[in-house]
């Protein structure tokens, strides 16, 4: 755990931090409100942040409204994580002209500072670092974008109803993977941020900020706030979920979930760790062609198509693939869980399917079937 090294004032401090980032040539991206929804977009100054706005979420439900305080970062999670910044929803990966000259489109990545990244989304980027850089291959397009990203994390004080990062061990406080991290405190008449640096770039920026030394009572308040945030989460994943999903291949519960699931793929699109893509060749009228990589979803039948049919034709099999991959097989593939507990798949599911609730049902079913289940 990195120690806090500075206390900055809410308004002046944030303004200065953004100015320093811009002075260093970073595009600044942060929380913005668009069409009634909090998302990540360009911000020119701290005044652009949706200060005081909060989100209410539930299964299939997201609403934005004014909160009770003028704090910046309570109970907000952008609709998408950092995925689209490091991995665009579609892009040309090769271009072919008439005589088959191949050009590889340059990755256009201006150094970008993302402001107010939650611990879950920091963890999700760490997961992408493993997926797209697993030896012997490195996805150079991902790497160029990832390495151009500066992450200013912010600890969560008030989680959303759909959050369960505490049970995934990824939040509510950011512990690694950031360049800078902020903790918003508004106790005893003062409102500001504790700042800590997690990288050389972060330390350089921190050195340019005006602030005060961190006091012990602020550190204690931060700890209490973190504990309260974790305690406020009503959803959680069973601790043994990885072994539960691996043992549940033949569970009748997949059919029950599939009777509700529309296989619309919303969950995979909003998930910050879902990395699947397809590769399609496309043509322009002038005879040029290009190869495009675009986000894809295991919820489509074509995803697993081989000679004459999909391997996973049935909806239960496709829901099972998604959940078992996230929570079980991801461990085999990458040595970690593929779920960071952000809860987006719950909020953005049109029928409100809740991955934590489904996991608890599977766990309870197994426990009934095998009273002394080992944790293998």
């Amino acid at each position: 755990m990195v120690d806090d090294s500075l206390w900055i004032e809410a308004d002046a401090g944030l303004r200065q931090l953004l100015a320093v980032l811009q002075g260093r040539g970073y595009e600044t991206v942060g929380l913005t409100e668009q069409d009634g929804c909090i998302t990540l977009g360009p911000i020119a100054s701290a005044d652009d942040l949706p200060r005081g706005r909060i989100m209410d979420t539930g299964g299939g439900h997201v609403r934005c409204r004014d909160g009770e305080s003028d704090r910046f970062f309570d109970k907000t999670l952008p609709m998408q994580g950092l995925k689209r910044f490091v991995y665009p929803a579609h892009e040309a990966v090769a271009q072919f002209d008439d005589d088959l000259t191949i050009t590889t489109p340059e990755v256009e990545m201006r150094p970008t500072a993302v402001f107010g990244v939650r611990a879950c989304d920091v963890a999700a980027i760490d997961i992408f670092d493993v997926v797209f850089r697993k030896p012997p291959y490195t996805d150079a397009r991902f790497a160029a974008r990832r390495d151009g990203l500066l992450i200013v994390a912010v600890d969560c004080a008030v989680p959303l109803e759909t959050c369960f990062c505490a049970s995934m061990g990824t939040g509510p406080h950011a512990t690694t993977g950031f360049d800078l991290a902020l903790t918003e405190l508004s106790d005893g008449g003062e409102h500001g941020f504790l700042v800590r640096a997690g990288s050389a770039a972060g330390r350089g920026i921190l050195a340019e900020l005006d602030g005060e030394a961190v006091r012990d009572d602020q550190v204690a308040a931060k700890r209490a706030q973190a504990d309260a945030a974790a305690a406020a989460m009503t959803r959680s994943m069973p601790a043994n979920v990885a072994s539960v999903v691996r043992q549940s291949h033949d569970s009748p519960h997949w059919s029950e979930v599939a009777s509700r699931c529309l296989t619309c793929a919303n969950c995979t699109m909003v998930c910050p760790t879902c990395f699947c893509s397809t590769v399609e060749d496309r043509n322009a009228l002038d005879g040029t062609a290009w190869r495009e990589r675009r986000w894809d979803s295991c919820f489509s039948i074509e995803f697993s198509y081989i000679h004459g049919g999909g391997v996973r034709e049935s909806a239960p099999a496709r829901y099972r693939q998604w959940m078992t991959h996230k929570l079980g097989h991801w461990h085999d593939q990458f040595g970690m869980s593929g779920c960071v507990g952000c809860g987006r798949c719950i909020a953005w599911c049109p029928v409100g399917i809740d991955i934590t609730a489904e996991a608890h049902v599977l766990a309870a079913d197994l426990e009934r079937a095998v009273p002394t289940m080992g944790d293998n």
Partner: protein, 284 residues
């Protein structure tokens, strides 16, 4: 250590290299074997069992095994059956036509496992293409092997690729083997039935001193595994090559997942004891 670490690790990504067709042979009514060299530089070197992503601009890209000899460093040889849009377009290429290539990809057949032992190769249908490099390798390394046997099952006499070469191999004293076809026909005097028939009747090997490499439709491989085990083979001595939808071959697109494994990079060649329950669970 992954087996392919023995081969050079290339800077592989999504960018293809342009190859040109230098030879074309119509194997079967719907199947061609192409020989190809890059427009610039030498053809890729590869290990038996590896595959490439073959493509045509604006049409698409598909995984295809390398079916030629790994020994001679000559042109790249691949055998393509026209089953759909991309494969038909590639099968329709002629000498001088150009195409896009990425690779080689995948874990190869563990041919060194066979040194000092019998090598039993069992193939069905176009599953002969991915095992043909094993035969080339085995014949070049014949002195290090106790024996080489090939069991091959085809739909009918008209569906046997590499026909003359295959008969030549089987007639030579350097290897043994048998062919079987699914259906009776007038011009076929050999055995009729599934390839598993040959395991009981013809395979002459001692399971304890043999390693088996199997390639064909998944259902055929399941039956072959059963038959081999009935003959006393340990599942750790049986290897199979799996097929799944593939869009990248790099472990990035997710399409080839089979439970915990990515067929493109952890396979396509697997030891049976590592994938047994993955081959039997439905819609995995």
């Amino acid at each position: 250590m992954p087996r392919s670490m023995a081969a050079p690790v290339w800077e592989l990504g999504m960018e293809p290299v342009v190859y040109q067709v230098t030879g074309r042979h119509q194997e079967l009514v719907d199947t061609v074997t192409l020989q190809m060299t890059p427009v610039d530089g030498p053809a890729m070197s590869f290990l038996p069992g590896q595959f490439t992503m073959m493509g045509l601009p604006g049409i698409g890209e598909i995984p295809v095994s390398i079916s030629g000899s790994p020994n001679d460093g000559g042109p790249l040889t691949q055998t393509i059956r026209a089953v759909g849009k991309v494969s038909a377009a590639i099968a329709g290429l002629g000498v001088g036509d150009r195409l896009l290539m990425r690779g080689p990809f995948g874990e190869p057949w563990p041919v060194e496992e066979a040194v000092g032992r019998h090598l039993l190769i069992i193939a069905g249908g176009l599953g002969l293409a991915p095992v043909r490099p094993i035969v080339y390798w085995a014949l070049a390394n014949r002195g290090r092997l106790a024996g080489v046997e090939l069991l091959y099952g085809a739909r009918g006499p008209d569906y046997i690729p590499y026909g003359a070469q295959l008969l030549g191999w089987l007639a030579s004293d350097r290897m043994t083997g048998s062919l079987i076809v699914d259906r009776h026909s007038d011009e076929w005097a050999g055995p009729v039935g599934p390839v598993t028939e040959l395991i009981g009747r013809h395979a002459t090997v001692d399971p304890a001193k043999t390693v088996a490499m199997v390639c064909g439709p998944e259902i055929m491989m399941r039956f072959v595994i059963q038959a081999l085990e009935a003959r006393g083979f340990a599942d750790s001595d049986i290897w199979v090559s799996m097929e799944r939808n593939m869009k990248c071959a790099l472990g990035w697109c997710g399409h080839c997942q089979l439970g915990p494994v990515f067929v493109c990079r952890d396979g396509p060649v697997f030891r049976v004891d590592h994938v047994r329950n993955l081959m039997t669970q439905s819609e995995l």
